[in-house]
Symmetry: C2
Subunit: 196 residues, 2 copies
Amino acid sequence: MPVMDLAARLGGAARIETFKADTVLFHRGDVTRHMFGVVDGQAYLRRTTIEGAEIVVHRALGGDLFAEAALFSSSYHCDGIAVAGARIAWFEKTALLDMMQTDGRFAVAFCRRIAGQVQRLRSNIELRAIRSAEDRIMAALSLRLGEGETRYEPAGSWKGFAAEIGLTHEALYRALKRLEQAKRLRRDGPVVELGV
Amino acid sequence: MPVMDLAARLGGAARIETFKADTVLFHRGDVTRHMFGVVDGQAYLRRTTIEGAEIVVHRALGGDLFAEAALFSSSYHCDGIAVAGARIAWFEKTALLDMMQTDGRFAVAFCRRIAGQVQRLRSNIELRAIRSAEDRIMAALSLRLGEGETRYEPAGSWKGFAAEIGLTHEALYRALKRLEQAKRLRRDGPVVELGV
DNA sequence: CGTCCGCTTGACTCAGATCAAACTTGGTGG
DNA sequence: CCACCAAGTTTGATCTGAGTCAAGCGGACG
């Protein structure tokens, strides 16, 4: 169920907007009125711990839905941010819920998406439990790469990548360096090449 | 949609079993044929990191569904374990999917459950990102307690609780001791009382 | 009665966090 | 066109607190 198809089916209950600079789509605690879709660019969900650390809980790229869980909650549980240059689709919550109620196929498809999130989040927890920075990075890269792929370029910056996997950027850069010295990967500007 | 109601609706596509000792319901990688429900007792999902650490990704108590995400995946992504004494309901995957397809209300209700999991998992990630053992414990207790509640007793053991929030049991016990000394909580056998 | 397992405490280690500073790079605006 | 600013990148020095290993206690259960 690609984002644009969904927008077409919802008609007036959907609109698309482009953002020049980083923009907060919603704050934690706001009443939920919309679910979102990333048409182009990226958006991410952010939470802040009591210690003040900001952690990226989810990053959505072009084609992804965003804040699906908000459909079933009265308030957002994270901050939602659209990255500069992103095109974001706004879907009205009520329209989507109606559609699910009446269209079983759609409901199942939607459920499948959310179930996928659950598994990704569990992988994320497993990932963050890896103590060694090097192993954590390698595991994160494996998760992000498809079968047989060997090159990776982070969406955004390496600094952002560090936040996503729960490392400080200093620890990340140092570990990347060690990995390169150990010939477990090679760096070439913003992209890394796995294995040698 | 309580577990027993679901079992009744599914008829022959559901069965209930009781386990004397800890039992593995499924292994990571097994083909998914069932979703589960905890009638009584508890069950948990476990993953093992490359470093060999076993982490508890989810713990289900009486009345909870278990391994919902398996419905939309061809293989399990975690190990599923029934704790000694648990009564577990087995639901056939295909029967459930059919039911969702035909009954929109049921599909939405099911989706709501999974969406709830997503939010709990995100809270969990936030929780595990808290570095200080003391703060992490306090945050975990807050999450588990309802509004106004002040007493908590872990399902299972404190050791298990430690695994759930990503601490070693030693670190947990030490932090509990410090928290008690700082009068942020009081321990009384297996239960803790928040705030003095 | 013995074994298992949760609980508890101690001593030590170490890897990542933290603080600090320099250097790229890209974009803005005068 | 260049000064300037913001943000990412890189490296160094130091610190800290959770992990690890080790050992002893006590209750439950067969």
